[in-house]
Symmetry: C2
Subunit: 432 residues, 2 copies
């Protein structure tokens, strides 16, 4: 049986030896113990570790009921949230839904993730003739981007639906505290909880992600089942059989060898938004105390025609982590052309996915010969189960990796500084 997910290290032999991996082994094992024991900094934010097995069945059913309700009342779901409050949802939705929307299909639009006035203005105009519902996601309800968007969108909702508007608002917030929870109680909005012990970037498998993902018709039970299988495997497997540990090991080894940038690469653009989720997960977890890999992303072969030259021959500061999908959901046969005007007949009878895989293999060879280390993550399929597995894999890996790096992977002290300046410039009461 093929594995759901497999880290291939064969192509790393030019850059990291088995001895390198043995040298760092104790640190990795120690980091994993620290994570699982809760003996490291930030230990109070490890709720995501057990989430796939502790998720309350009744709560899951309530999410599914609500998702169904949303689908029956609306053709647009507006998800209001920023950072971890929307990146996981967007990653799952774009990975698992078709590229091109049909009119019959439920649409998802993100709001409160930008301060662009053009975006909000055009969105308010667009929604006028749509049947829509809102899922507003914010621990406190006072984060400025989602709060402003919610004010404007909720006013539109009230203008459009009157007294019925409150049935179209779904709140995901803190269990007890904060402006949003208070409002939800007052207005009797249906509401869900962001657990206290799970930070935003680890929240995709909480109601933060599960409600909108389910509303888009994706099986959240399969998503959770995949995460559960990953948990079962990676919490127990020993070092050489544990890809989460080996991935954490490899990236720290490369970082120590003065390769400061990691690029997450796919050959399937449906994974572009997964890369955005991944970038937050790793950049926000590890980028502190003047440390951490700088993270970037690309989709090949698209970006081989833009960043390819740099990767091949520019400054040597990158390694690549390539997500490669074994089995595409759909494929296209390349047909024979009588005239062979484009000289492609040598491909006739092959499928497009075969060409894509040869592009991957050819690029791998080229980049390795250009001294760019490549880690390969083989994902068997792109479906809810595999994606849940992958989410958990990366979350566990960053926990381990962060402790190896010697930082607290669960806080984000640097995010506050620009906010303080901004509030001062906006004359916010109580800010000096």
């Amino acid at each position: 049986m093929r594995k759901v997910l497999e880290l291939k290290l064969d192509s790393m032999s030019h850059f990291l030896s088995k001895t390198d991996f043995e040298t760092i082994r104790k640190e990795v094992e120690e980091a994993k113990r620290t994570l699982l024991n809760g003996s490291g900094p930030g230990q109070e934010f490890r709720g995501w570790l057990d989430l796939p097995v502790t998720f309350d069945e009744d709560e899951l059913n309530r999410i599914l009921t609500c998702a169904k309700k949303i689908r029956s009342m609306a053709n647009v779901l507006v998800v209001i949230g920023i950072g971890g409050s929307y990146l996981g949802t967007r990653a799952a939705v774009e990975a698992l839904r078709p590229y091109f929307s049909s009119r019959k299909r439920m649409e998802i639009i993100y709001a409160g993730q930008t301060l662009s006035s053009q975006y909000l203005s055009e969105l308010l105009f667009y929604l006028k003739n749509k049947e829509f519902a809102i899922n507003v996601i914010s621990k406190s309800g006072t984060t400025i981007e989602p709060a402003i968007a919610f004010r404007a969108l909720n006013n539109l909702l009230k203008a459009k639906y009157g007294d019925e508007a409150s049935k179209r608002v779904f709140v995901t917030s803190d269990r007890k505290k904060g402006a949003l929870k208070k409002l939800a109680n007052q207005q009797q909005y249906e509401s869900f909880v962001i657990p206290d012990d799970i930070g935003g970037r680890f929240s995709v498998l909480t109601p933060v992600g599960l409600l909108p993902i389910a509303a888009m018709g994706i099986s959240i039970k399969r998503l959770l089942a995949g995460a559960k299988a990953a948990r079962n495997h990676y919490l127990n497997a020993s070092y050489w059989k544990n890809d989460a540990m080996l991935y954490a090991a490899a990236r720290n080894l490369l970082y120590r060898k003065e390769i400061p940038c990691e690029m997450l690469v796919n050959y399937e653009p449906k994974l572009n938004q997964l890369a955005e989720w991944w970038k937050q997960l790793f950049a926000e977890s590890e980028g502190k105390d003047g440390k951490g890999l700088f993270v970037a992303s690309a989709s090949f072969s698209t970006d081989l025609h833009s960043l390819g030259q740099y990767i091949q021959e520019g400054r040597r500061l990158l390694f690549e982590t390539v997500i490669q999908i074994n089995e595409p959901q759909k494929d296209v046969l390349i047909e024979k052309e009588p005239s062979d005007f484009d000289g492609l007949n040598y491909l006739a009878g092959k499928t497009l996915d075969v060409v894509n895989k040869r592009a991957f293999e050819g690029t791998l060879m080229a980049h390795i010969s250009g001294q760019v280390p490549n880690l390969i993550l083989n994902l068997d399929k792109l479906d809810p189960y595999s994606l849940g597995y992958l989410f958990y894999f990366f979350e566990l890996a960053v926990g381990i990796s962060g402790y190896i790096l010697g930082i607290n992977p669960f806080n984000q002290p640097g995010v506050e500084q620009y906010k303080k300046n901004m509030f001062r410039l906006l004359d916010k009461p109580g800010i000096q």
Copy 2:
């Protein structure tokens, strides 16, 4: 009168002194002379320099006529091209068109920019019930990604429209040579020329970009007028008054101070695709001989909630170039709420764009205090004229910057290596 585009160096004083800029001045002036004289490597690819003043009026009118024809016959234009054959178009279209599409509005879809079989398969299905036309863009016609897509999409077109299909194909290719030009002659496709002396990443203001941009209802005359104004200014202005020279100077100075990554930042997500165009322009021009800044991009405040922590407190390897738009096309007033449930009433009466600008200022202060150099590019408005101006600014800047770096900014030798491997793996005839 406010300038169309202005580079602000005030915030750089902590990192680069006036003396630094004076030290590199001679090199910058020399690089600019080399570029304009055609005395440097790659000089045969400088056609873009004079394009805004040499563009043939008749050809421009033919493009406009064709664009009109496309709009009358189709509601979807499929642009088939990869790298420079679509990134400029996409940058302009996303910068200048609304975020949310209405059913009445002409749609643009890109193809041949990926080998994803899911993408092509879903696109073929989607187009079945659409009125569509194709603009296929490839110098040779044998680049594998667009060639495969064109085979499949042209077959669909023929199945759908029969003998009329050939009127729905618009070709942009080499003047004389290549499979695509030959086919265009045979089939009497309407066709346009990619000038010999302009490389893909500099081709947005050739028919490569102009035809699809015009077909999307954007004024290409204003786009060219902006580029012409930029040309007039930047070819003539002396060092301290020449932002293209100063930008080239600043990025080389920072590179020499061992800051190896440049991040292009916007506060308006409509510029996200401009960043993709910019990344190709700089990465492919400069990433060679083991040199060059690694380029990345972000949209704030969105990505302050994902990459913000890293930028503020991670490893010090980045500087930011921030495009800031003075005047938004649309704005939203923040209204007073009787209950002030979210505590936002202190913003009532302000517009969202004001908040966005305070976010920019607050972030600038925060990042500078975090030792991240910031170059600010003030763009007065986001309209076709300004965008044409900005395209030309960056093209000129990369030409100068590349010569300062000591590389040929107009070739891309490293792009071939993966292709050779791939063709060998695909048993392409004549490849060994």
